[in-house]
């Protein structure tokens, strides 16, 4: 019973993080939220007795993908609106 409740809580947490990442305009927070999705997903994989996949998800999803997205944000723009305004001012097709 406790196992099922924990499972439902983790799934809801994953869903909440995904919705937050979709609606957040600050891309840095959105990337952190996708990292949270991967973290919870690796815990779920471990609970479903797939430790091999859990290790892969933890190493690639939480660390490497998040860092590569953060480096991309550092080299481009941080807010979604910023990019739109920038392209409208300079008359660049987005």
């Amino acid at each position: 019973m406790i196992y099922l409740i924990l499972f439902a809580v983790l799934l809801l947490l994953m869903l909440a993080a995904a919705v937050y990442a979709t609606f957040q305009r600050d891309l840095l927070y959105a990337v952190i939220a996708t990292g949270v999705i991967s973290l919870v997903l690796s815990v779920i994989f471990y609970m479903l007795q797939a430790p091999d996949v859990a290790l892969t998800e933890a190493a690639i999803g939480v660390a490497l993908t998040t860092i590569i997205f953060i480096i991309t944000i550092r080299n481009t723009v941080r807010h979604e609106d910023e990019h739109d305004k920038h392209s409208r001012e300079k008359k660049i097709q987005p």
């Binding site: 430790p51 091999d52 859990a54 290790l55 892969t56 190493a59 690639i60 660390a63 490497l64 860092i67 590569i68 480096i71 550092r74 080299n75």
Partner: protein, 231 residues
Amino acid sequence: MKNTIVILLLATIGYYLGTIFFGIGFGDAHFANGVKDTYLALTTSELKVANTVTSIVVNFRGFDTLGEVTVLFLAATALGGILYKKRHAVGERTVLFPASSIVKSGAKLIFPAIVLLGAYVFIHGHLSPGGGFQGGTIIATGFLLMLLAYDNFSVNHNVLSFIESFAGIFFVAFGLAGLLISGTFLENFMPVGTMNDLFSGGVIPIIYILVGFKVAAELTGVIYTVLHEKD
């Protein structure tokens, strides 16, 4: 003339592929049970490997693993090729604000532990969860930590490409050795030993160690290239 040759070649290839796939007979009765029971039975009885996932990934589906490693290698090479010019145009990378001394000391302290954990994961790939891909990624995150903490930390690209090529060549060499000795590519031709020993499973630990080195070198190269890219 050229078109005729191309059409003839394609028709020949199509004919042989068609006959092969027609001969397999997808949907027949002997496909209903699948191969899972055979794999599970052979893993403990013949291969003496404790981790079934590793035995399937490296032994029964070793050719798929070679393909995966090739895909990763091509992706890393393409990224390096795209960002190559920019990396050489500017020397040092820009740092918005330097890391604090706590981060620097902590990174220096924890870096050997991360590399040791990664090595443990891929050396014990046939005994405990994990394997070459997971261990290699863990080692790459260790290098990522050092790159984030120290802005003058650098890795030697020649050493990385040497490790990559060495691991890749030896993976294929072990496959060809299996072809020569036992008659199938990537056949397990070495003695399997006793179950739960470090030296067991024939070529499986050797191949996973090679994969671990290869993945670690490639991902470290990717992170280094992306971090030093500037517009």
